[in-house]
Symmetry: D2
Subunit: 147 residues, 4 copies
């Protein structure tokens, strides 16, 4: 589930309620799941601001993940709600970087970034089509928008 | 399964054969699973060089993950073998940082780092016991060991 | 996200859009994830018809899963929507059984059942409190409701 | 890691040490992961007694899972070892059924069964090649072997 952005910026906020199966024996969401939360948000961001990820898949293209970083600020528990907000930091010929912040009602949960390269079904890096790139270039937001 | 380190350095190499359930519709290991591979390796590293993670759990302590970063270099497929090598980069009063490299027979798969803070069962940060800290301080390896 | 039931029966339908990370190298949702879909639906069912699962957790009780069965009818792909409908099949002193059907726009995806026993934090089976049991007994639906 | 079978029967036992990320907030292995343990064991069984699953993948065939059932007997915790033993219950023109038992040092953890149909990359059911079928038919074990 995604919410409409409140600013004029090309941000998307995805709301995720924590299922029991994402928790671990510490009683909190296992940290590896945050990487999956980022994916939920950027798929929503693409559909809302660019074009659905399925359109790339149909053209036998994927945005392979080349970098992930997450800074964890607050633990999240079963049935709590996390809002993942994402915006585009930069885009180049074959790659792009997205920045994220994760919030819970109690405050900032994490900040994160991912980088992706467009690849074909053999995993070879391919240039992002010119029109897609130009359209996405207009979506870049200042990092402050996520602070 | 972990292998004995070949150098005199406090490194541990964990061998992981990719199960089908870790792959995604791109036909490769989903990038979120690499974060889990890191956990496999640092649990083995603790048992081999320090003390078993279960000993901390029995004392109602956990090393909460406060940072993860992964740089993905090569895709990995079903049934391929990944070797995850880990060493300690630094240790402070309540936290530590581990560095990792992931290799497959075909070459470097990824490099990564994680940071952790010792917490009690309420999630409050606690100092690492002095003796544990002193022993781990002797395990620090130069980052070049993972290059 | 759950929908209001359309019949007068105590059914709950949870809507789940398939994230990329639930797919596998066959290009479909990995079959183990269906077991997680069932959990999403029964948590919603409890909140809608009985009381939130978190209320049990606060009382240091959990419904441990003692049986799962899934019959897979149709493959589901990335970004498709699955509706998981659940109802109570029976309830006894310390255990209960739920039945499920999973539907996609293209048709029946799967049928399933789970059984659960109430346990304390040491994993010992405990009787379901009498009032809870009486209330849930009124929620039992005929299996035909899920066909 | 799989062990050689101790009987003359076509059984395979896969040894799995529970990683932290498979636990949940009950402090035990989340029940959905058992379905993944079954996959680990049957992949090893195929390699040991039939031919590697990768050989089917190369021929653009997969054994889609059409049924899973698990009966959970004992909870398993972080760092404990589970042995998953698997054998073939029956094989037909396009499908087969495997039976499993899961053991920990403390006793029986679960029993389970899975059914699979051979499919092509479009998900269409295809007959199991005659020679493969004949070879596998000789692997059928009596269910008592798993009790």
């Amino acid at each position: 589930m995604s919410r409409a952005p409140e600013s004029g910026l090309a941000l998307t906020t995805t709301v995720h309620r924590v299922p029991f199966y994402e928790t671990d024996a510490m009683g909190i969401v296992h940290h590896s799941n945050y990487v999956r939360f980022l994916e939920l948000a950027r798929i929503d961001w693409m559909a809302e601001h660019h074009r659905p990820y399925t359109a790339y898949v149909e053209e036998e293209r994927n945005f392979a993940t080349t970098h992930v970083s997450v800074d964890y600020k607050k633990m999240v528990r079963f049935d709590e709600t996390v809002e993942i907000t994402v915006g585009l930091e930069w885009i180049r010929g074959a790659s792009l970087r997205l920045a994220y912040r994760l919030d819970a009602p109690a405050g900032l949960v994490a900040t994160a970034a991912t980088e992706h390269a467009l690849v074909d079904t053999d995993g070879r890096v391919r240039r992002i089509p010119k029109d897609d790139r130009a359209q996405m270039a207009r979506l870049v937001v200042p990092l402050e928008a996520l602070r």
